[in-house]
Amino acid sequence: MNFDKKSALSRSVKVQSATKSLVLIPIAVGINLIGGTLCSTLKLPLFLDMIGTIVIAVLSGPWVAALCGLLTNLFLALVANPVYLPYALVSVLCGLVTGYLIKAGLFRNKFGVVVTWLAVTLTNTVSASLITIFVYGGATGVNSTSLVTAALLATTKKIMFSVFSSSMVENLIDKAIVFVIAYLIIQRIPKKFLSQYSSSLGDDD
């Protein structure tokens, strides 16, 4: 009798935790988007739209982070501009890379954060450029990145290189700041909250 109850209990705890993690996903999506909004509120020339993905990668792992990236772009496509939709792939890949590197323990010290930053910058640049080239033929319209691409193209005459380098510069700075901010925020997530989530963050009773 007692034994039965115990096993039923441990089973249900596992099932219910799913909801607890699930509700974090829309909030992480919100954090991604609010991060971007805040940049325009403060008139900062940045995007900083990945904070939620990084936070949830720490809490729930790579695949949930990927899902969060996907939903962020889906939201942008529905509310702002459908042009963002193909770039969902970029967000998904960045979520996965961040998630797996964090899982490998790289977020525990500053050196690891730098490695994660460089890896994500590279993933973002390569995948975003490939989408810009193969989906949009090189540019998504007249914006600063497209103009840099055009200028580079006029001097170097190489499409691939031009798209890559214009995206790279922008990304390096933006992702550096995103990771610093996310790192600072994650350091400050309270224990009381964390204790209700994944066991990897603390020993079980």
Binding site: L22, V23, L33, L38, V135
Partner: protein, 256 residues
């Protein structure tokens, strides 16, 4: 006017799944078809559809707002620098304008426009709740539906929260105007409370979902939003599929 239900356009009344099918069929047909003319035709027809849906003005604004700059950029990039360029139309001095590149650019632009236009019409004429209700009744996991709707709903609320937090931190001496460095320094005091409080709120929101039976696994969910599949839906779906199949056959024949 005034009393009763607002007049709904025929496009609005369609089942969201029909509209999703339209995005898929029309977009794919444009992509497969060897030249740009079919796509151009579809875009023109879609202007008519947008008119029927009473969204012509905003539709035109979106299409031209996206179409014109991207065309200029792509004609520049592909027309002048595409490695495919063999037939030279004009020599501008600093670069040569090639026909292949221009055609390629036109194809990309028109394909993107078809996707953009169909997506825009669906988005403007479909209530997100109805779309999710339609998807749920056709068998997708209710958790997926939750994620889509909750993401859409949580963001405006977080915006409002951010406004309050901005006031609250200004009252603690945080300057949100001034030099670049000062503004960058304000980022964490503003973002910190958003993240912390949202995360703690999430736990209570999960409680609410649980006590309202969200984790029920053995029941087929129902929705307050009525989703119907009318005759128009059935005919339109059949038409779209026949159209796609026809375009595939014609495209194969044309390339052959």
């Amino acid at each position: 006017m005034g009393s009763g239900e607002p007049v709904k356009s025929p496009i609005e009344k369609l089942n969201p799944l029909t509209k999703m099918l339209a995005i898929f069929c029309l977009g794919l047909a444009t992509l497969i078809y060897p030249n740009s003319w079919l796509g151009l035709g579809i875009v023109i027809v879609l202007f008519g559809v947008a008119g029927m849906a009473h969204i012509l003005k905003s539709f035109a604004k979106t299409i031209f707002g996206f179409g014109i700059p991207i065309s200029l950029m792509l004609f520049f990039i592909q027309g002048l620098y595409s490695p495919k360029n063999k037939t030279i139309i004009a020599d501008l001095g600093f670069a040569k304008l090639g026909e292949e590149g221009l055609l390629y650019a036109a194809k990309i632009v028109i394909t993107l426009l078809v996707f953009l236009a169909t997506f825009y019409i669906m988005n403007q004429t479909t209530y997100a709740g109805k779309m999710v209700a339609a998807l749920t009744s056709s068998g997708i996991n209710p958790q997926v539906g939750y994620l889509i709707l909750a993401s859409l709903n949580v963001v405006p609320q977080m915006h409002r929260r951010l406004d309050v937090i901005k006031e609250a931190q200004e009252a603690r001496g945080v300057e949100t105007t001034g030099g670049l460095w000062a503004r960058l320094k304000a980022y964490i005091p503003l973002m910190g409370p958003v993240v912390m409080s949202s995360l703690t709120d999430a736990q209570e929101r999960g409680m609410t979902l649980e006590t309202r039976g969200f984790a029920n696994t053995n029941v087929k969910r129902t929705s307050y939003i009525e989703v119907t599949t009318s005759k128009a839906d059935t005919y339109l779906r059949a038409g779209l599929i026949i159209f796609l199949v026809a375009v595939i056959i014609i495209s194969i024949l044309m390339r052959w």
